[in-house]
């Protein structure tokens, strides 16, 4: 048999089901948000790393111009520091989509599909290995090439050989950037099929795993040794790169997402705490009189405190029972969505027990701690006060300058409005300033986060726009090898619609550190630097852009200065070009996400020091009109023209495609941000509903007075609904202000994680107005239910209250 006081706890918990439901829901929304973030973070960071390990990721890649054979692979495998090596043929081709558009397609050819030892590719569906004269497409690329399994597609090799080939199935290749992000689809064929296209046997891409793959510096040295070996064997190396150990290709974006999740998790935790304090305050207001009675019959403070803490603990247990499974489900769904986005299979969705423990601690201990504040202030008042009869509502309106401001002559304009209850609502809002503050904190945090989420979204778009603005052109062609610049430009300018052309050359380079060690591959782009140059300037973080006549000036990504601490703006950088070391001066840093580091130098200077004067291996073209249809049409004509005159195209892309691809890479972040914004809006709304419920409860007798003097139901309800709207509007205004530093912080954190520099700040007015609409709707909804309850009470009931 339980003690009598515990019966009260049990009966209170289950006797008022609506109240219990509201409290438990309030708590579980916050816990759910926390659970989903904590669990998804763990699943993504651990699960993806675990999944990635199963493909035997390479430590680095060395690409050759000349083809090599199995003997060279074997010789690399025998190197002391190489744990494993494998090779493939990689060819950039063009393919025609159903709509007639030509797209880039990268084809990989393996000698033995059953024995891929590094960066494993596996079968998703269809035949394995790819049947003769058929192709497998990477599963994430199907939507990009606008085709289905079984379709015939037309492929054109750089040698101009064209073949129609059937898509035999789908492959899974997580080591590549997902096609929807970088816009490059991947295909897989056998060497027999390659021969059918008129190409000879041989590999041009070597993937190696260092014997200590977890050590990036070591891995880099090993990759460099392999590169040196290849060079010594007579191969030309246009590209070699080292991968981040154990990290998938889009790790920066994933880290950004995880960081954002962490920040939003902390925010939702704060919101949950405020919500708990608000909810517990509501509960105590309801129970104030009963607490007085218990004191009157001899209940000690600790005894009563114990009862209510057990009650709050029980609410926490119930909230956890909802939040943990739903949070787990949500986390798995969210992780799956992100895994699809990153083109990864999650072999493990396990969440370590610590995650549950944190959730349980937050759900059980924090509410108890948070509720101590309202408990202690409530228990401090005397039993007589707790049981005191009607004193025209609670609150201390009339004491300070705010109250004086809201009273009398200052609000003269309200008197002229047809809704006189506005005046009552305005003053009621400020009656209990403590509760108003608590509600405003909860709602303002929710508002600020919601608006910030939209700001981050707008900032991501601005950042993409900034990156695109570098290129004052409409279409770009990377050529398969160097051509004479004047020939390329004159051929391009002969096409109607082309208004201007410009050329650059690109070179593989490496940073040589003070200790003589070398970095991985860095792309060196050398654009022509003239006032009318088509490449204006990247979005600079610090310093300046290249100037005409610059000799050894270089502009580097700001992320490079973070990765290589010995570099600084204004300092020197030693770059190895074609085996020779050259000293450059860093004159500026630029913002931007690059999966390979890029540095910019002056075309005239580089062509001079590399004896390539007058050469070009990339051309940028501006067109008369800039819409996709027009630019695509001109690009197609240019492609045909270049093919006709023997200029082989390695890669063709338009600025519109680049913009779309860059925005797509942020899609997951934006989707996640929106999901979080909705959750936070829900938490804020529930907080407001709790406050309005207490307000109605506290003023039950006042409602009776209003009804007794003839106020119809509608008027009574409108007083509370208006009060809710006023609180909502105040939180909106404050949230709009708090969102400025908050979104700057998020931009800083996200930008640093993804690109090494803050995002380009942008304040989203659509987000601000959308939240205004939502907050008004939420306020109406949150106050309508308690207001309707209030308006339905009979005069006798409300005047008898207390």
């Amino acid at each position: 048999m339980l003690r009598a006081r515990w019966y009260k706890v049990i009966n209170d918990l289950f006797g008022n089901k609506t109240r219990t439901l509201l409290i438990v829901l309030s708590m579980s929304v916050g816990l759910f948000a926390l659970g989903i973030i904590l669990s998804a973070r763990t699943i993504l960071s651990d699960g993806l790393a675990e999944s990635f390990a199963t493909i035997y990721p390479s430590s680095g890649t060395v690409r050759t111009i000349e083809l090599f054979d199995e003997d060279f692979i074997e010789s690399v495998r025998k190197m002391d520091d190489v744990q494993e090596a494998d090779a493939r043929r990689s060819i950039s081709v063009r393919m025609q989509t159903k709509s007639g558009e030509w797209k880039n397609l990268t084809i990989f050819v393996f000698a033995d599909y059953e024995d891929i030892r590094v960066n494993k590719v596996t079968l998703q569906s269809g035949a394995w290995p790819p049947p003769e004269h058929e192709i497998l497409i990477e599963r994430a690329a199907l939507s990009v090439i606008e085709a289905q399994v079984g379709d015939m597609i037309l492929i054109r090799f750089p040698s101009d050989v064209e073949r129609r080939i059937r898509i035999a199935g789908l492959a899974y290749d997580p080591a590549q950037l997902p096609a929807q992000i970088d816009g490059t689809p991947y295909g897989y064929i056998t060497f027999d099929t390659l021969e059918w296209f008129g190409e000879s046997y041989g590999f041009n891409e070597l993937h190696v795993i260092a014997n200590h793959p977890e050590d990036k510096d070591w891995a880099q040295q090993v990759v460099n040794r392999v590169k040196d070996k290849a060079e010594n064997s007579g191969y030309t190396i246009p590209l070699s790169m080292t991968a981040e150990p154990g990290q998938l290709p889009m790790n920066d974006v994933l880290q950004g997402i995880l960081l954002l999740m962490g920040l939003l998790g902390v925010l939702s935790l704060f919101l949950s705490i405020f919500l708990v304090v608000n909810t517990v305050s509501a509960l105590l207001t309801q129970q104030k009189r009963q607490i007085g009675v218990m004191k009157a019959v001899g209940g000690g403070t600790l005894q009563i405190l114990g009862m209510y803490l057990v009650m709050v603990f029980s609410y926490g247990v119930m909230a956890l029972m909802i939040a943990i499974p739903f949070g787990m489900y949500g986390a798995r769904k969210l992780s799956s969505v992100l895994a699809v986005f990153f083109n990864f299979d999650l072999y493990s969705m396990d969440v370590p027990p610590q995650t549950y423990l944190i959730q349980a601690a937050v759900g059980l201990i924090l509410p108890v701690l948070a509720s101590l504040v309202p408990f202690l202030s409530n228990l401090r008042i005397s039993a007589a006060e707790a049981m005191s009869s009607y004193t025209m509502g609670k609150g201390r309106f009339g004491k300070n300058w705010i109250d004086h401001f809201l009273s009398g002559a200052n609000l003269w304009f309200v008197r002229k409005l047809s809704i006189r209850s506005i005046l009552l609502s305005v003053r009621n809002t400020f009656r209990n300033k403590g509760r108003l503050t608590l509600t405003l904190i909860t709602l303002t945090l929710g508002s600020a986060t919601f608006i910030s989420v939209f700001n981050v979204r707008a900032s991501l778009s601005s950042t993409v726009e900034d990156m695109i603005k570098w290129f004052n052109c409409d279409t770009m062609f990377a050529l398969d090898r160097s051509y004479r610049a004047d020939k390329v430009q004159s051929e391009a300018e002969s096409i109607p619609g082309v208004t201007k052309t410009d050329v650059w050359i690109q070179l593989p380079t490496r940073l040589v550190r003070r200790d003589e060690s070398e970095s991985g591959m860095i792309y060196m782009f050398a654009p022509t630097v003239r006032p009318d140059s088509l490449i204006v300037s990247p979005s600079l973080a610090e310093g300046r852009w290249l100037a005409p006549g610059d000799e050894n000036a270089v502009v580097v990504p700001s992320a490079l200065l973070i990765d290589e601490p010995e570099l600084e703006l204004g300092g020197d950088i030693v770059l190895k070009i074609d085996g020779d070391e050259h000293v450059f001066k860093i004159v500026g840093t630029f913002k931007g996400m690059a999966f390979l580091p890029i540095v910019y130098v002056n075309y005239d200077y580089i062509t001079k020091i590399t004896n390539r004067t007058g050469e070009a291996d990339a051309v940028m073209i501006a067109t008369q009109q800039h819409d996709s249809v027009y630019v695509d049409a001109v690009t197609r004509t240019l492609e045909e023209r270049f093919n006709l005159v023997g200029i082989e195209i390695g890669l063709a892309t338009t600025i519109n495609t680049e913009r779309r691809d860059a925005e797509a890479s942020f899609d997951a972040i934006v989707a996640l941000l929106l999901l979080m914004a909705i959750l936070l809006a829900l938490v804020g709304g529930l907080g407001l509903m709790g406050t309005m419920s207490i307000n109605v409860l506290e003023r039950t007798r006042e409602i009776g007075v209003l009804r007794a003097i003839g106020a119809p139901n509608r008027s009574v309800a409108s007083v509370f609904v208006l009060e809710g709207i006023i609180i909502g509007l105040m939180s909106w205004a404050m949230g709009a202000a708090v969102a400025i530093p908050m979104s700057r912080g998020l931009n800083q954190a996200l930008g640093q994680a993804v690109m090494g520099v803050p995002l380009t700040y942008s304040y989203s007015l659509p987000g601000l107005w959308l939240w205004l609409v939502i907050v008004i709707l939420l306020s109406i909804l949150a106050s309508f239910i308690p207001a309707r309850t209030a308006s339905r009470l009979t005069v006798r009931e409300v005047l008898a209250y207390e």
């Binding site: 048999m1 003690r3 009598a4 004191k295 009157a296 019959v297 001899g298 000690g300 600790l302 009339g398």
Partner: protein, 229 residues
């Protein structure tokens, strides 16, 4: 009863209570000196606003006086904080209110058991037995498993009395216990108090009803916070 030699159960010495409000200070009690003795049925009367309820709050420790001394059973209640006052109240006094103040989520039986639980006076089994016995005494044992809302006004007040007697207190303090009852029920409730006094108990009753006041062994009248007779 010989008040000159017996030690008072409750003693108030120059008790003052001032309430502060936006309208200014209000003196609710102005230097009250009062002694209540064992076996007395003391009735306090007075008009609305005369300070009767404030006096109850002071001597039960439900509220603190602004100045003066309150001694209950030899203990200096005026020096006690809320915690100690609650313990003293639980062991020494039973309080009854005009609006019954029953806990709506506890059954009739559990309402009576609650003060015993707080005071940790009896074992759980004894608490139950004693609660039944008290309910029988006030004539509502048949309703033991009901919630208070299922009872009539008179039955609710009987329940409040049973609850007040739960810890066998030295004194019952009742603030307008018949204020919410019809006259027949009010008489029945007063009969319970009379019976208690006859059995040696002490009752301190506040009422504005002159007929009920006649039932007391001693009557004092409050006016503007002062004892006038």
């Amino acid at each position: 009863m010989n008040s000159s030699i017996a030690k008072p159960l409750i003693e108030l010495r120059s008790v003052v209570k001032v309430y502060e409000s936006l309208a200014g200070s209000v003196i609710a009690l102005n230097g009250i000196d009062l002694q209540v003795f064992q076996g007395e049925f003391l009735v306090v009367t007075g008009k609305s606003g005369s300070g009767k309820t404030t006096l109850v709050n002071m001597l039960t420790g439900l509220d603190r006086s602004t100045s003066g001394e309150i001694w209950v059973n030899g203990e200096p209640l005026h020096r006690f904080g809320p915690e100690k006052a609650a313990r003293l109240r639980g062991g020494t006094m039973g309080v009854i209110f005009q609006t019954f103040e029953l806990l709506p989520t506890l059954t009739v039986l559990q309402n009576v058991m609650l003060p015993m639980d707080f005071a940790r006076r009896y074992s759980r089994w004894e608490q139950r037995k004693r609660a039944y016995h008290l309910l029988e005494q006030v004539g509502i044992a048949d309703h033991a498993r009901k919630l208070p809302t299922a009872l009539s006004g008179g039955q609710q007040q009987r329940l409040a009395i049973a609850r007040a007697m739960a810890n066998n207190p030295a004194i019952l303090v009742a603030d307008e216990p018949t204020g919410s009852l019809d006259s027949a029920t009010a008489i029945a409730v007063i009969d319970i108090f009379t019976g208690l006094v006859q059995e040696g108990g002490t009752v301190f009753l506040v009422t504005h009803d002159k007929d009920i006041a006649k039932c007391g062994s001693r009557v004092i009248t409050l006016s503007d916070g002062e004892i006038v007779m």
